[in-house]
Symmetry: C2
Subunit: 141 residues, 2 copies
Amino acid sequence: MLSRSGIHAVRALVALANVSDGDYKGAALLADETDAPPNYLGKLLQALSREGLVESQKGLGGGFRLARAPEEITMYDVVRSIEDIRRWTQCLFGGDGCSDGNPCAVHHRWAVVRESYLEMMKTTRLVDLLPTENHRGTNPL
Amino acid sequence: MLSRSGIHAVRALVALANVSDGDYKGAALLADETDAPPNYLGKLLQALSREGLVESQKGLGGGFRLARAPEEITMYDVVRSIEDIRRWTQCLFGGDGCSDGNPCAVHHRWAVVRESYLEMMKTTRLVDLLPTENHRGTNPL
DNA sequence: TCCATTCAAGACAATGATATCCTCAACTGT
DNA sequence: ACAGTTGAGGATATCATTGTCTTGAATGGA
């Protein structure tokens, strides 16, 4: 389950995937392309920059670019930089006493769901989110 | 992913599962047993009452009781009464243009996770959450 | 140097979820 | 009838998330 921040962040990174080498794309343009609030997206990009996912450049012609290739960035990397993912590492009810040794009633069932989600996040890379010839500009992220 | 309200609600219903027939358990006691804020739990119980999951009784000896047997109430029933479950019926990014006909890049991957979650919620009944001999009073919900 | 552009950073506002408080109405036992 | 108990409901408070605004710092071009 992505937060709105997480959605903004992933969309922005996808929009950064096609900037030419050595080039940058500004936050305002990114916000326009992804329908995100410009100033807020700026904050999110700052966070992504602190986490080493993007590089920023001030001044004319400046903006943001990916710090790694789109093949090397997973949705998990992005979301972990933006959201508090502890709820996906804890058990469903968040009970402190719940552990593999003393499991709650839904411990194992939830583990299946949780692993399914985390595995999806960790195996889905930015490159997997890019529009293909199949959707020709209508990739409905 | 349960909200705190959802957690409170499920715990309260579990605590109602062992009320004797024709008897009631008060909101204050329920809150005490489940470590929930008493007044807030009252509101949640109101919602559960409106949805027909519990029945309430005012006055001395009053309180709440399950409207159906614990075998007939699923976690899905509870959560749907309390939370906005739309995020589990939409696609991961919530994009309006996303549909089975014009799927986004994560459409199918997310469908697997979503169905896994919804299936767990729909097949887990209150009776499945009750403490068993195995945990003897230490069911860490 | 001067200026326009762009990110960085902090203060502030809006929103929704969570939680509290108070009063009223319904019910029970005396 | 009366008093105590308990849920119902509304107003308000708190908090995290989301979003806006303003100022400053860095950068590059004229």
